[in-house]
């Protein structure tokens, strides 16, 4: 990129970084890249019921040159891999990739010669989304996590240096950006709960606990 690579470390970067990242994350434009059944869920997420328009990204661009987010929705065959890479290369930087569904993430149940075992063999992936296929909420969750991650991304080589220095000082957020489930992040009480649980290393237990509390039919084993 431009000016941020020429400036000495620390000048201008933090605020410009924040502004640029805020602009980036606030309006993703996805490239239309549906490959299999996950694409149906992706379309559903763009429709009125789930409405990705709430985050300014209901338009899936038919041209990769207008897109900055590629949602690889579905299994990538060996024959599709070069096409995928070409579309990725045609997208303007900065760009991100979500690998949607287990097939794109790791090959899923198709552990055979025809399917690329994870799209990260072909392009760098920013967010892995499991599920077969993931429900639209899961896709929205992945997008929100990616937005949070991008908000904290360093800008240029100096920005990366500053981030490393911050890490060396131990000045890192309790929860890594993009690790907290969206429904927890949007709710203040649950967010505090999650942060506390991460400190104790039991965030997955917290999730099960909260889920059990909400299940009335389990009250025999749990809610005494």
């Amino acid at each position: 990129m431009g000016i941020e690579e020429k400036l000495p470390s620390g000048i201008l970067l933090t605020s410009v970084e924040k502004l640029s990242n805020y602009a980036r994350k606030s309006s993703f434009w996805g490239a239309t890249f549906g490959l299999a059944c996950c694409a149906i869920e992706m379309m559903a997420a763009g429709g009125p019921h789930y409405d990705l328009g709430r985050w300014g990204m209901e338009v899936f661009r038919a041209s990769p040159r207008q897109a900055d987010l590629m949602i690889v929705a579905g299994r990538v065959s060996q024959k599709m891999a070069p096409v995928l890479r070409q579309i990725y290369d045609q997208m303007p930087e900065p760009r991100s990739v979500i690998s949607m569904g287990v097939c794109a993430s790791s090959g899923g149940m198709f552990n055979n010669y025809a399917i690329v075992q994870g799209v990260d063999h072909v392009v760098p992936v920013d967010m892995y989304l499991p599920g077969c296929p993931p429900r639209p909420e899961m896709l929205i969750d992945a997008i929100l996590k990616l937005r949070e991650k991008i908000l904290h991304q360093p800008l240029g080589p100096n920005g990366r240096k500053m981030l490393e220095a911050r890490k060396a000082r131990g000045d890192v957020p309790v929860v890594a950006p993009g690790a907290m489930p969206s429904s927890y992040r949007e709710n203040k009480a649950r967010r505090a709960e999650w942060e506390q649980a991460v400190k104790e290393g039991r965030e997955e237990q917290l999730r099960i606990e909260n889920w059990m509390k909400a299940q009335n039919h389990l009250s025999g084993g749990v809610n005494r």
Partner: protein
């Protein structure tokens, strides 16, 4: 004139929609409740005294069409007891980058140790983080439960655990329902053949 009234009709449809109920879900702010049997992330359950239900038989791993489950069995000893009976799972991993949430592992599980929750917010930014280990999968310790390893509290042999399991499921987050208002409390020894 026909076109004039026609366009009124057309815009009327658009206008009427402004007064309809909004269908959009408010997902991250008000998460919807999935169907009770929605296949979400797994839970490894515990007996009412805190011992693990998993016996390390690997049937879930064999049933898995995506080879997402990895189990290594270990032997229980009198000093180091994690589950009633002979064996327990010393390593238990589910790779959520492979798991297709089909539930065949749940059907295969002979002790109802493995069940599914409705949690679905699983996206992570590395494949490493998507491999859930036993620590992440195990159910939390409820009141009256004790962190294993510890000796069997509910009887002399594993039979006492399985015979009483219908009225006292421990954490069995699945289809079992409460046995009744007076179902025995967790941690309380069951009478033999109570079920």
């Amino acid at each position: 004139m026909g076109t004039f009234t026609g366009s009124f009709k057309g815009f009327g449809v658009t206008f009427a929609h402004m007064f309809r109920k909004v269908v959009t879900t408010e997902y991250p702010f008000k998460p919807p409740t999935p169907a009770p049997r929605y296949h979400g992330r797994h839970i490894l359950n515990r007996h009412p005294d805190g011992l693990e239900k998993c016996i390390g038989c690997e049937l879930c791993a064999w049933a898995c069409p995506a080879d997402a489950i990895y189990v290594e069995g270990g032997d229980n000893t009198e000093e180091q007891r994690f589950s009633p009976g002979e064996r327990y799972a010393s390593v238990y991993q589910i790779n959520y980058a492979r798991c297709i949430f089909c539930g065949l592992c749940i059907e295969a599980c002979p002790t109802r140790s493995l069940t599914m929750s409705n949690e679905y917010e699983l996206a992570r930014d590395s494949r490493q983080d998507l491999i859930f280990t036993k620590e992440q999968l195990l159910a939390p310790l409820l009141p009256g439960m004790e962190q294993p390893p510890h000796p069997m509290r509910l009887g002399d042999s594993e039979k006492d655990y399985y015979l009483g399991s219908l009225t006292n499921p421990g954490t069995s987050a699945g289809a079992e329902r409460a046995g009744g208002a007076d179902a025995s409390q967790p941690g309380e020894p069951l009478s033999r053949g109570a079920a």
